[in-house]
């Protein structure tokens, strides 16, 4: 049975060249903080990787901090900017206690902000339109002298919609408010230029761009002061204590190098595959809704709602045929509430329950799409035949 992996937004396989870089780096066991030759070999590997990560987003190497995951990068920004420690020189010293974010962020942004909300911060949760786009006009209205941070994702993980980050960051800059963007789902897939967009912080993660899990990065614009969350040694300019994850960092550096080299080619190829999948689904299956923006979207993400049936059933039936996808809802992960993103774009509950996310990666081929389009219509029909809601069954 073929195996087709269409869950690359959850995590990506490790790129063969990244695997090689890890293998080559296995003997770099020295502590990058040690002054002897073994430590310095590790230091050099870490700093080389930093240059490559910086190049991916057009930053200076000194503006990149390595962390353990995208969630840590997001937490570092949100908690670091709002830190209340009296010795801090961060934005916390500003009297403002207002944060602006959106209704479609990842939980690693939403939950730290909710925690601050409980601690007395005022939070504006910007809505999105039917495509998942944030209206810059609403940001302009919400932002004030009290605002200390705006956090808006570059591209949405569930529906792929790409936000107008440059325009949004410009508004924040006009008010001298820090702007953070969670680019975990976009980095390596889209061209990202922090100088052009003018963001102050940008999060990215290794395992979404063909590096392993356990390594990520945060861009912090030169001159911006934040407090560390993981306090400890002087590593990463004192912003992230803990001995550097040399192997992970080397892998992330390699993955960024490959991403820069292959980006154009991949974007073009993945767009074609996504379009084939989208058109194929719409041709072969009735009563389907495609979610997200028709153009302003990641080439890797396709969110589709199959009416009258439930997402987890689709996922498990596809899985038994060797196709790995994800539900748009959090149902299978323990919560029975449908996805906050799908509800935010105005999808009714019953449709949100029937949503599947197909997410593509560099390994996907035309044959993968052929096989998916061969299997999917049958799976959908079987489940609809089983559904008391399917009108086709009421003769």
């Amino acid at each position: 049975m073929p195996q087709v992996y269409l869950d690359n937004n959850a995590t990506t396989p490790i790129h063969p060249e990244v695997k090689q870089a890890i293998t080559d780096g296995l003997d770099l066991f020295g502590n990058a903080s040690s002054e002897h030759f073994l430590g310095q070999a590790a230091r050099k590997a870490v700093e080389d990787a930093r240059k490559k990560v910086a190049a991916l987003v057009n930053a200076k190497p000194a503006e990149i901090i390595f962390t353990s995951c995208g969630s840590e990068s997001n937490n570092l920004v949100i908690k670091g900017v709002t830190c209340q420690d009296i010795i801090c020189k961060s934005e916390a010293s500003k009297p403002g206690k207002h944060i602006i974010t959106t209704q479609i962020e990842h939980p690693s942004v939403t939950n730290p902000i909710k925690s601050l909300e409980r601690q007395g911060f005022k939070v504006t949760w910007l809505p999105v339109d039917q495509y998942g786009l944030v209206d810059p006009g609403l940001l302009s209205k919400a932002i004030s002298k009290q605002t200390v941070l705006v956090s808006i994702m570059t591209a949405n993980n569930e529906i792929g919609t790409i936000e107008p980050i440059a325009e949004l960051a410009k508004i924040a800059r006009g008010h001298e408010v820090y702007f953070h963007t969670d680019a975990v789902q976009a980095a390596g897939k889209l061209e990202i230029d922090v100088k052009e967009t003018g963001v102050d912080f940008l999060s990215l993660s290794g395992h979404k761009l063909y590096a392993p899990k356990g390594v990520a990065a945060l861009y912090i614009r030169e001159g911006v002061v934040v407090c560390p969350v993981l306090q400890g040694g002087h590593q990463e300019r004192g912003l992230r204590g803990g001995t550097e994850n040399t192997l992970g960092i080397v892998a992330l550096g390699k993955a960024c190098e490959v991403a820069i080299r292959d980006r154009e080619k991949n974007i073009e190829r993945l767009w074609k595959l996504r379009e084939r999948l989208r058109k194929g689904i719409l041709e072969k299956i009735p009563e389907v809704v495609i979610n997200g923006h028709p153009e302003k979207t990641l080439p890797t993400t396709l969110s589709a709602t199959f009416k009258f049936i439930e997402g987890e059933s689709i996922l498990l039936r596809l899985s038994s045929k060797g196709i790995a996808v994800s539900t748009g809802s959090a149902c299978s992960s323990g919560s029975l509430e449908p996805s906050h993103v799908l509800l935010a774009i105005g999808l009714p509950h019953e449709l949100a329950h029937g949503t599947i996310r197909f997410s593509l990666g560099f390994e996907n081929t035309d044959a993968d799409i052929d096989y998916t389009l061969e299997v999917l219509p049958g799976v959908i029909q079987q489940l609809r035949d089983m559904s008391p809601l399917w009108p086709g069954s009421k003769k």
Binding site: C331, H349, M386, S393
Partner: protein, 194 residues
């Protein structure tokens, strides 16, 4: 995998799936908004014995498996016997369900009860006087059970869904009562393990 092999088997190869045009009793429960709808058809002979059962389900794997196995369990039973079937019997027959999927078994048992009650002519709305389980917030037992059927499996989740326990008394009166109701729906094995 969050499900055991038996649940997956009943999901992948559902028994008794389909409609029954000449059914003697039909029960439908759930709502598309909550992500589960179950419809169960029963054929009942003159002696009151269920001779055939069919189902259709909109929902997740455990909802399909619960309704499928529930139809198997009632075939051959007298309606009085089948009416005693609880959600725990469904969970046990499936060899267990994840805690956050217990509500699927509740719906399956409810669908059977609904069909039989209608067949026997028992009024579905049998609550005579409205008695509030959470007196401060004026919340009925029925509302609590509905929240459980829609996925709440802890007192906190019931509180979140209904507003119970959040009144003046802070849940002093109703928390133990809600615990008792939750206990009724929890799988037996789990309780013994505690």
């Amino acid at each position: 995998m969050i499900y055991n092999e038996k649940v997956i088997d009943y999901f992948q190869n559902p028994r008794n799936m389909g409609e029954m045009p000449d059914a003697d009793a039909v029960g439908e429960v759930g709502s598309p908004v909550c992500g589960d709808v179950m419809k169960i058809w029963l054929k009942i002979n003159k002696e009151g014995v269920i001779t055939d059962a069919k189902f259709k389900t909109f929902g997740c794997a455990s909802a399909v498996a619960s309704s499928s196995i529930a139809t198997e369990m009632v075939i051959g039973k007298h309606v009085n016997e089948a009416r005693k079937m609880s959600n725990r019997d469904v969970v046990d027959a499936l060899g267990g369900l994840p805690e956050h999927k217990i509500h699927c078994s509740v719906l399956a048992a409810d669908a059977i009860h609904r069909a039989i009650d209608k067949y026997l002519g028992i009024a579905v709305e049998e609550d005579k006087d409205v008695e509030y389980l959470c007196k401060c917030q004026k919340i009925t037992r029925e509302r609590i059970e509905e929240a459980i059927a829609h996925g709440a499996y802890t007192v906190e989740m019931v509180a979140e869904a209904t507003g119970a326990t959040k009144g003046e008394c802070g849940g002093v009166r109703c928390k133990p009562l809600i615990e008792d109701i939750l206990d009724l729906y929890r799988p037996r094995k789990k309780k013994e393990a505690n």
